[in-house]
Symmetry: C2
Subunit: 506 residues, 2 copies
């Protein structure tokens, strides 16, 4: 699909003049803008996380307002890692600071008495420090983000990894996605520029490559080894792509994995870095789930490793406020760290950032709080730590419960999640169901997910949106439904699955 | 410059295999990512609003922390319409609602007594309504924006224009810029796709066209007619471009103008709409300054006209929370209305919006407040109206003062601002200064602006960043410095200008 997109672009750019005159005034009744005449790469791009399933889920949600005969009363959105949509509570201290930054009038001395009834002193103090550096959350900031916050991010990276980071090498972004999109854009010299991406992958990558007209170079994760990454697979993929004429220039690693949930061992990470160095590849490390690690491997240090200095030679690393135990998705905040990137290239990144003026300031404030939370001894520390721990422990329990649920079903196997927020079970679909799907012009996994949605209100995403070994079928589900609803959630899935398999058994 | 960019892209896509292997492992010591090997369109894009002048201004600001010998103690950023950076106060009611939405714990009954000491009841009620529809500001919303807010935007458009608007045709965006970028992208079928843009223009347009590899089709505004738009000029431009093989498909109108500040008369707007209809052009109406109108023309209705239903045949209209009297730039909020756009094309816009997940929710909340402010009779109405009026009247006074200041100077003439936030004076630069600029490899207007920055700390943007008639020189300055500093601001500019002209007089 993506190769087709690239070919179309090349053809489009070589098309003769006739096409370009199609909408001249000599043909006044032709439509000006249709899907046929729009940007071909946009038209061809696929983006599954918000594709056919979530569109049907939205419509279903509207139907449920009036139709009470479906046997369920709401849609459960497991198609996207959006914890607060499913009622995960925000971190109290973070929201206190954010609300004070919104309304600096509260900070005037005459309000102090009333304010102290509603806010702890350390939240007030933090808001005051931030506003001193920011001015107003309503002013455009520096296009790379507020310098004070970039300094705090650099200190955070240094504490985490034991190696200095530079505020000038950090760009605050509107979520990790916008950083990823910009870096892929800048790395694309022409349609032969190749990016190694895992299969299964988070569809942001395939969609962005499709949009910029670059070439995806897939490498497969090993489902039978708990979705592990084998460096020999990387080598084979890069050599084959180069022999085919692709200018492979970057490797995308998602760690912990999305949709697959695996965590790389330190040894594996070192091999990957050597591979990038030997093959002259820039490493794009999507590390947005870096605190969502549930099963630290034998060596305890593994769990806390990220691709960063002094290890990585040439690296873009992405982080986000949307994941972890914070889950502030709607705020759109994150950062991008550049390690050993040519300063002139960073100037170009700055120029692109400038066209969109700046990342939203409330998103930047949340990056400050994520990287610089209350410390032991601070008034808000205990509450903060308690909230984080409680969400973390609950995620572990829910991930285990859902994996057990999937593994208890006929024709389904599921690796446990070592990290992230998703499970990606494999499904054996009976031939009758494959035939029924074909009749509806659906892929078999889409057919299964659509049936699940209609029967239970649970929205998950078919594996074809992420990529999977040909002939295998999967889907991705978050394990984010609320804990007190989780047993019912699992029972609903089991009930549906049994019915589905009974209906279509061979 | 932009045509060059397009040519380079075409060449890049046709380059033979040799180039694509340049970074294969056979040449292990070549650099992986440099400005030579990056995306050629990104490299060639120019973006003046945050170009050489603001970069020098940032450095200067750092120098001023230690160097007290410059004769001024801070940089005055007149390069960008960023009112709150220059201490414009935010609208109280808006910030109250935003801060309550951040911290829903405040809304619990046990806090009500303390809360009512700090917040008016209508702000509390509004926050409650919003949270009922939003859930949490930390959750991803619908990719087109929260439905309730889109309904409010549709009602706002209907009240404003007397013609119904559809929530489904409205996309909330992260500022107007991201809407403009997406629409230009989708309208670009290939490198021959042409977009008519005014000269002078806001450089978002030229930068975005350059990034997507489309062809700009310039039309000139008439400086001698107060930057008016002559439809004959449009006709000439489109016919010439089509004869040259460009597939002209859209017309960009910025009204009120940026950088030029003119407002279109209703008659002029009707001519433009007929022109678009006859020539099969989609109209892109950048109407972010729609409330910044200072000199309503003879017919009072003119001042309140926007390109909208039922006038416009096929239209994308952009609005923003960053301008008007609100000036909430750092929050990144806005909306895009699609009028008579093919539903399948809107599905594609939705797909693109999905890849970035959603516009930030606090930006969406501010769009709700902008389009649905306190009404007569509401507790906060008087304060709200007073704040809006006070900023509006002050903008009028400052715009007149700055125009008078420019017109009082030797070798400078300046049209008054009918709207927006900028003046764009024309400058006659003496030959000696032109020669001195050449020696420094600068355009003469850049040379003048750089000298102004070094002498006064005032940062403006040279006309070459916006486009200007060949052989003429201009610069753009906001009139946003605080009113109590405004006389000194004008005096500083005058003092610098006189010295500059004395130094370089022929």
């Amino acid at each position: 699909m993506i190769q087709t997109a690239v070919r179309s672009l090349v053809q489009a750019r070589q098309r003769p003049l006739t096409l370009s005159l199609r909408y001249a005034s000599s043909k006044p009744h032709s439509k000006v803008l249709t899907t046929e005449t729009m940007h071909p790469l946009v038209r061809q791009m696929e983006y599954a996380v918000r594709g056919a399933l979530p569109i049907r889920a939205e419509a279903l949600q509207k139907e449920l307002l009036t139709d009470k005969t479906k046997g369920f009363d709401k849609v459960v959105f497991c198609n996207i890692g959006n914890p607060q949509q499913l009622n995960q509570k925000p971190i109290t201290f973070f929201r206190q600071v954010a609300s004070l930054a919104e309304n600096p009038e509260l900070l005037t001395p005459s309000n102090r008495e009333a304010l102290l009834k509603l806010y702890p002193a350390d939240a007030i103090a933090r808001a005051e420090v931030l506003l001193k550096h920011i001015g107003s959350v309503g002013a455009y900031s520096h296009s790379k983000g507020i310098h004070h916050i970039r300094e705090n991010v650099a200190k955070f990276i240094e504490r985490r990894d034991g190696f200095p980071a530079e505020p000038e090498n950090i760009f605050l972004t509107q979520g990790a996605s916008s950083g990823v999109q910009t870096v892929i854009q800048i790395l694309t010299q022409n349609s032969k520029s190749g990016f190694m991406i895992p299969i299964p992958q988070y569809p942001l990558y395939s969609a962005t490559l499709s949009l910029v007209g670059a070439t995806p170079v897939p490498y497969y994760l090993e489902e039978s080894h708990n979705w592990g990454l084998n460096v020999d697979e990387l080598k084979e993929a890069v050599h084959k792509a180069r022999a085919d004429g692709t200018d492979v220039r970057a490797l995308v690693i998602i760690n912990p994995g999305n949709p697959t949930g695996q965590c790389l061992s330190e040894e594996n990470m070192r091999e990957i870095i050597d591979f990038c160095h030997n093959e002259r590849l820039v490493l794009l490390a999507d590390e947005v789930y870096q605190t969502n690690i549930y099963k630290p491997k034998a060596a305890p240090s593994t769990a806390s490793k990220r691709f960063s200095n002094p290890w990585a030679k040439k690296l873009f690393s992405f982080h986000s406020i949307s994941k972890g135990m914070i889950g502030e998705c709607g705020r759109r905040g994150g950062y991008l760290e550049c390690v050993n990137i040519d300063p002139k290239v960073m100037d170009q990144l700055y120029k692109i950032a400038s066209v969109s003026l700046c990342p939203n300031v409330q998103g930047q404030i949340m990056v400050d709080l994520m990287t610089n939370p209350p410390k032991q001894g601070d008034e808000s520390f205990e509450k903060y730590q308690g909230e984080i721990d409680s969400i973390y422990q609950s995620l572990i329990r829910r991930s285990n419960k859902l994996a057990q649920c999937f593994n208890s079903m006929e024709n389904m196997t599921c690796n446990e999640a070592e990290g992230a927020m998703y499970l990606f079970p494999q499904l054996k679909i009976p031939q009758k169901a494959v035939d029924a799907a074909k009749e509806k012009s659906m892929a078999p996994d889409t057919f299964y997910c659509m049936a699940m949605l209609e029967a239970t209100g649970v929205c998950v995403i078919p594996g074809s949106g992420f990529g999977q070994e040909p002939g295998t079928w999967h889907f991705r589900s978050t394990f984010l439904p609320e804990e007190h609803l989780f047993d019912k959630f699992c029972a609903d899935l089991k009930g549906f699955h049994k019915k589905f398999m009974d209906t279509y058994k061979d």
